[in-house]
Point group: C2
Chain length 321, copies 2
C-alpha cells in the first residue's frame, strides 16, 4: 500500500492572487504528491493548501514553499479576519493510508527542524505532536497572534519547540502539528449581524459550553455580504456535521435568520459525509446504502447539507489513485 498523508499548510495571503499563484507554483506538478487544492479567501486573507501523497516528497517541497512565502509575505503589513501568527501559520500532517499517527508526528518534527535550521523561523509543535499539554490546542499557542507573539515567545512557558525565543521579524512563527482529519466547516447565515452570529457560535463551541469537539466563531464575509459560523470539527465521528448544522439552525431560528448554505475549507473524509447523509435518510425514512458511490455522496451532500462550491474532489478518497 502507498504511504499517504494529507498536509494542509495555511499561509497568510488570500487577496493578492499573483502572490498566491507564485507561492503555490512550487507545489505544482511534483513527483510523489498532488496539490489537491488551494483556496485563497479575501476576507480571511489566507490560503488553505491541501497536499496529498508521499510524506517525504511533501516534506521536500515544503522547503522551497517556505522560501517563497518568506520572500513574498511580510506579517507586519498583513491583516485579515482569520487569526494568524506566521506567514505560514500552520502545517498539519494527517495520516490517511499506510501511515499511523506516530509516524505523522515524526514527519512533523522532521519538517519543523528543517525549516528552523534553514530559515531561523521558530516552530511550535501542536495537536498530537505537542510536547506540552498547553500546546495541544492551536488557539492557545496562537493567542495574541503575530503582534503579541513578539513578547509572548520570550516567556519561558512559550519558548518555541524549535528555534530561539524570538519571532522571525517578517515571518513570525509556525505551528507544525499532527492530527486526525479535521473538518473545516463554515455555515452561512443570512444576516450581517456579527453579534447574533457570535451568540450562535457560542451555543455550539466547546469553550462556551457547546459540543466537545467544536471550535467556532463568527466572521463577517464582507465580499459576500453576510456572516458565517466558521468552525473546526476536531472529531467528526463524535460531532457529526448534521448535528452541528441542525443546532445552528435551531439557534438561528430565534433570530429568524436563515441558513441558506455552507462550505468546506479543504477536504473531508468520505465517512464524515456518509454519517450525515445517513441521518437525513433516516429522518426521511429512506433506505441508506453505506457503499454508495462518491458521485452519489457528492449529490446528497449538496442536497442535504447545502454545500456551495462543492464537488467530488472535496472528498479525500476521490484524490487517492
Amino acid at each position: 500500500m502507498l504511504r499517504i498523508v494529507q498536509c494542509v499548510p495555511n499561509f497568510s495571503e488570500g487577496r493578492d492572487l499573483n502572490k498566491v499563484e507564485e507561492i503555490v507554483s512550487v507545489l505544482k506538478n511534483k513527483k510523489g504528491f498532488n496539490l489537491v487544492s488551494y483556496e485563497p479567501d479575501k476576507d480571511y486573507n489566507r490560503t488553505v493548501v491541501t497536499l496529498l501523497g508521499d510524506p517525504e516528497a511533501i516534506i521536500d517541497a515544503l522547503i522551497p514553499f517556505t522560501d517563497k512565502v518568506l520572500h513574498l509575505i511580510d506579517m507586519n503589513y498583513q491583516t485579515g479576519e482569520h487569526a494568524r501568527m506566521g506567514a505560514i501559520d500552520v502545517i498539519p500532517f494527517i495520516p490517511i493510508q499506510g501511515v499511523n499517527m506516530d509516524e505523522c508526528i515524526v514527519y512533523a518534527n522532521k519538517v519543523a527542524k528543517l525549516i528552523n535550521d534553514q530559515f531561523d523561523i521558530p516552530i511550535f509543535m501542536y495537536a498530537e505532536a505537542a510536547n506540552k499539554k498547553t500546546r495541544v490546542k492551536l488557539p492557545n499557542i496562537r493567542k495574541g497572534e503575530f503582534e503579541g507573539m513578539k513578547e509572548k515567545i520570550k516567556e519561558e512557558k512559550w519558548s518555541p519547540d524549535y528555534g530561539k525565543p524570538e519571532i522571525h521579524p517578517t515571518f513570525g512563527v509556525i505551528g507544525v502539528g499532527a492530527r486526525i482529519p479535521l473538518v473545516a466547516y463554515n455555515i452561512d447565515l443570512d444576516t450581517d449581524n456579527t453579534k447574533r452570529t457570535g451568540a450562535i457560535a457560542r451555543a455550539i463551541r466547546f469553550s462556551s459550553g457547546g459540543f466537545r469537539h467544536i471550535q467556532a466563531g463568527p466572521v463577517l464575509l464582507e465580499s459576500r455580504g453576510h456572516t458565517q459560523v466558521t468552525m473546526n470539527i476536531l472529531n467528526y465521528k463524535k460531532n457529526p456535521l448534521y448535528r452541528v448544522l441542525e443546532t445552528v439552525k435551531m439557534e438561528a431560528s430565534r433570530y429568524h435568520i436563515n441558513v441558506p448554505s455552507c462550505e468546506l475549507v479543504g477536504l473531508i473524509p468520505k465517512e464524515a459525509l456518509l454519517k450525515t447523509i445517513k441521518y437525513y435518510f433516516q429522518v426521511e425514512g429512506k433506505e441508506f446504502n453505506e457503499n454508495m458511490s462518491l458521485e452519489e455522496i457528492t449529490k446528497y451532500s449538496i442536497e442535504y447539507i447545502g454545500f456551495r462550491d462543492f464537488d467530488k474532489y472535496k472528498i479525500i478518497e476521490a484524490n487517492i489513485n
Copy 2:
C-alpha cells in the same frame, strides 16, 4: 436578608412508601427550613428530598434523618435503575440567598464531619467541596457503586475525606458536596428501546462528545412503559433546557421516536425557565417579558417544554417566603 440554602439529599428507597414516609417524617414541620418536596421513584428506587432554608437548621435535621435511613435501608438488598453508593447517596448544598459558595463548602464539611463522627459512615466531598480534582465529578467517585466501593475505598487514591477506608456494612458511603443549582431534567421518549435512547443520550452528553455541562444516560421506566434520557444539567446558563430538548428531538427524529413530555426532579431556578421560555417566544415572534409572574412561567413551561407533574412549587423562588 435571610440566609437560605437548598439542600437535596437523595436516599436509596423509592418503592416502600411506608419507609419513605418514616424517613422524611423527621424533616417535616421543622423550624428554620421547609421540606419543599420528596419524590420517590419506583424505577430508580430512590427518593430526592428538597430542603430550603437556614443552613444550620438543615444541618441539625440531617443527623436524625441519617439515623432513620441507617435503620431502615440495608444496601446489601437494594436494587434500582439509579447508580448509588450509599443509603443516603448524596447531600449537596446549594447557595440560594445571602450565602456564597465558600460558605456552602463550610456547611458541607460541617455536616460530613458530624455524620462521620456519629455514625461511622465514610464521606467523600464532591463538586465545589471536592478536595481532589478526581473527586469533582460525582460519577467518578460513585463508579463501581455500593458493591464496588467495598474494595475501591481501600485504594489510597479513593480514601474517604472523612472516616476510615472501609464502607459502612449496610449504609455504604455518602457524597457530600456544594454546587450551583443543578437541573435534574428527564426527557420522555415514546419508545421502550433503551439502545436507541442510549444513542440519543450520547449525542448530548459531554462524556461522549456532547454539550459541555450535560451528564446523561438512558433509563427504562418499566412502570410507565417507556424510556427517558435522564440528565443533570450542571450549568443551565451555558446549556439551557431548550437547546438540550431540541437536540434530543433532532436525534430522536432519525428513529421516528416522539418526545411527548419531560419532567424535573427537584427544583429549578426561575432564571433557567425564563431562558427557555424566551427562546420559544423569540422563535414564535412573541414579545417576551422578563418580569412575568411565577404563574405565567409555570403555564409557559408546561406549554413549551412539555413538563408533566409540574407546578409553581417546582420553581425555587416559589418556595422562599
